[in-house]
């Protein structure tokens, strides 16, 4: 046990993994039935803070001591369900919990403006249940348990997206579309797990990995691999399976967009890596080939095409939703490389992208609250009317482009170096093209904000209207993280290297 946490009671330390997932779940259903939305928000804030503290404790513990395995119901793995935390998912838990807490701070401002009064408690409940589901996906070492938590988080996400209907009715069709695509994804995933179970007779991921040795030529295993990759590809919006994402992100309540963009696709991405590298062996012919001939080319195509589509959007959240699809391409490219450097770069970009998109979507949310901004032309003169929010947005945007000194630069540079090491010149070209396009779409927004006059209202320019502190604080924490991790990249690089090492099995 590390000395930093010696003050915690023993039972809390010993049972931290299940408590991290179960407390948000219990609190979520309680928050959903409370009559007062304020009280529900109090629960959300307290529980996400607790989860963030627990997740940082677990991450510290794993960094110092190594893999942490917890047997649910005292049934020893591989028979029972095992919660297993290593260098790969310790960082994911921390990311989800911290972003969840920051979003919880911003929640009341968004909810009171966007969600119908009778739905507010249910909204907070769904938010916590989604939070619990994402943590559960990240923490569990059991393949079927992954499916269960993936559906817990997804189903509550559909409800959260649909609650945007208070502001724009199109949220309902966006959510329905997401429900259909997400359910197909989940079904494919569980069919894949079924195939693996058929071939190996076990559901514990580490145990599946052991028993798959020597089954490389087995058709059942290959089919399982295909189903799992396509199913998770739908969940993480891998190009060209991303069609649900732009609408869901544009019409969901602003809080939900920020939370999902920073966590949900990231967790699905983590699951893909866990399966492709942790359960299957990248040394398997079919797995290695599909990374080189399927994942990497699709990633490169997604980077360029989605960035190109982003340039031509007129709805500003839709623009950044397409940009998210492109950024998923960056992460997948790192995975497709199949090298330790590529994997580490990919993880670094995962963290940094959560920071930049969190900043950008929180800033856009605050702008919607202030001026009802949805279209890019609505952003005219925003640099003068909402100066602090706009400044945070600039940092997030520059980080997205990859300007030196921001977190985005660190991870893009790492990815570039990894591609050069592998000798993939076409990937370097795609990276360059996508970054230039990112410069265009971010530049277009910044030009609107800083070089245009604020709109006229009754003959006068619109006056300044700064965002509330509850919106500014989380936004600026994330924006500051973009700058800090752009200059002192030690902590994220260390986490990413630990993740890559855990995946590729070289060290804890």
């Amino acid at each position: 046990m590390t000395p930093e946490i010696a003050f915690l009671p023993g039972w809390l330390v010993q049972h931290a993994p299940p408590l991290l997932v179960v407390t948000p779940l219990i609190a979520g259903v309680i928050a959903a039935v409370l009559p007062s939305a304020r009280a529900s928000w109090g629960i959300v804030l307290a529980i996400t803070f607790f989860a963030a503290a627990m997740a940082s404790f677990i991450a510290m513990q794993v960094m110092e001591v190594g893999v942490w395995s917890y047997a649910l119901g005292s049934w020893a793995p591989p028979l029972g369900i095992e919660y297993r935390i290593d260098g790969l998912n310790a960082g994911m838990l921390l990311l989800v919990a911290v972003i969840g807490f920051l979003c919880a701070i911003y929640a009341p401002a968004s909810v009171e403006a966007e969600v119908a009064p009778e739905n507010r408690s249910a909204f907070y409940g769904a938010f916590l249940i989604c939070f619990a589901g994402l943590l559960g996906v990240a923490i569990t070492g059991d393949a079927f348990n992954v499916f269960v938590f993936l559906e817990i988080s997804s189903i509550s996400t559909y409800a959260l997206v649909a609650m945007g209907a208070g502001r724009d009715r199109r949220a309902l069709t966006a959510s329905y579309n997401y429900l259909i695509m997400g359910t197909i994804g989940a079904t494919f995933f569980v069919i894949g797990v079924g195939f693996l179970y058929m071939a190996t007779g076990t559901l514990n991921m580490a145990d599946i990995a052991d028993r798959l040795q020597g089954l490389e030529g087995d058709r059942t295993v290959q089919a399982g691999f295909a189903f799992i990759v396509v199913g998770l590809g739908l969940k993480l919006a891998m190009y060209p399976l991303h069609s649900w994402l732009p609408n869901a992100y544009s019409y969901a309540p602003t809080l939900v967009t920020a939370f999902l963009a920073a966590t949900a696709t990231k967790v699905a991405f983590y699951t893909l890596i866990r399966f492709v590298f942790g359960v299957f062996d990248p040394g398997f012919g079919f797995a290695g080939l599909s990374m080189i001939w399927l994942i990497a080319p699709l990633a490169a195509a997604g980077m360029v095409v989605a960035s190109f589509q982003a340039v031509f959007q007129s709805d500003v959240r839709r623009l950044f939703a397409y940009s998210s699809v492109a950024q998923v391409g960056y992460m997948l490219l790192g995975v497709g490389l199949g090298t330790a450097a590529g994997m580490s770069a990919s993880f670094l970009h995962l963290f940094n992208h959560a920071l930049m998109k969190g900043t950008v979507f929180l800033a856009l949310g605050a702008m919607w609250l202030g001026f009802g901004v949805t279209r890019i032309t609505d952003l005219r003169g925003m640099g003068r009317t909402m100066p602090y929010t706009s400044a945070a947005f600039v940092i997030g945007g520059l980080s997205l482009v990859g300007v030196p000194g921001t977190a985005g630069f660190v991870s893009k540079w790492a990815l570039l170096v990894a591609c050069l090491d592998r000798g993939w010149w076409w990937a370097v070209l795609a990276l360059g093209a996508a970054s230039v396009l990112a410069f265009f779409y971010v530049g277009r927004v910044l030009e609107m904000m800083y070089l245009r006059e604020p709109p006229q209202h009754d003959g006068h320019a619109v006056t300044r209207s700064p965002a509330p502190l509850a919106a500014l604080a989380p936004m600026w924490i994330l924006a500051a993280a973009n700058l800090v991790f752009g200059i002192w990249a030690d902590i994220p690089v260390r986490l990413a290297n630990a993740a890559a090492a855990a995946v590729l099995g070289s060290a804890p």
Partner: protein, 141 residues
């Protein structure tokens, strides 16, 4: 209100039997086929049958949606609460063997949680869908 007298009398006889059968399935789950999920659906069916025959308003008076919502939440709290209790008693999460009465009581409690949540959620889904349709007046049957 003398229309559908046969339906009304028959369903009044059936509804208690359906609930009892639901409870049978619930407790039989300990020894063989059955369990909280199936039992929850059967118990919800009793209320849904009542709603179909006596009208949605009557059913909503008998089991108000607010009660069903609390039931749905309570079920999850019971299930997860068993896990918390087992931690408090010195075991791992959901370790039934440290609970007084052992695995039998642990599973029984968990399944009661499942029954509550499944029955309540089934009912809530039914209310949500049925509430959108026009009630059919008696003469149009």
């Amino acid at each position: 209100m003398n229309s559908h007298i046969v339906l009304k009398v028959a369903s009044k006889v059936l509804i208690p039997l359906i609930v009892v059968f639901g409870l049978y399935v619930q407790f039989h789950g300990d020894f063989g086929a059955g369990g909280g999920f199936q039992a929850g659906v059967i118990v919800a069916v009793a209320v849904i049958l009542y709603a179909l025959v006596f009208g949605l308003e009557e059913a909503r008076r008998a089991v108000p949606p607010a009660v069903a919502k609390i039931g749905a939440a309570l079920g999850v709290v019971i299930y997860a609460g068993v896990g918390i209790v087992s931690i408090a008693l010195g075991g791992n999460y959901l370790d039934y063997f440290v609970i007084p009465g052992g695995q039998h009581i642990g599973v029984l409690l968990v399944e009661i949680g499942v029954l509550l949540t499944v029955a309540s959620v089934m009912l809530l889904i039914f209310y949500a869908f049925a509430g959108r349709a026009r009630e059919i007046p008696d003469e149009e049957w």
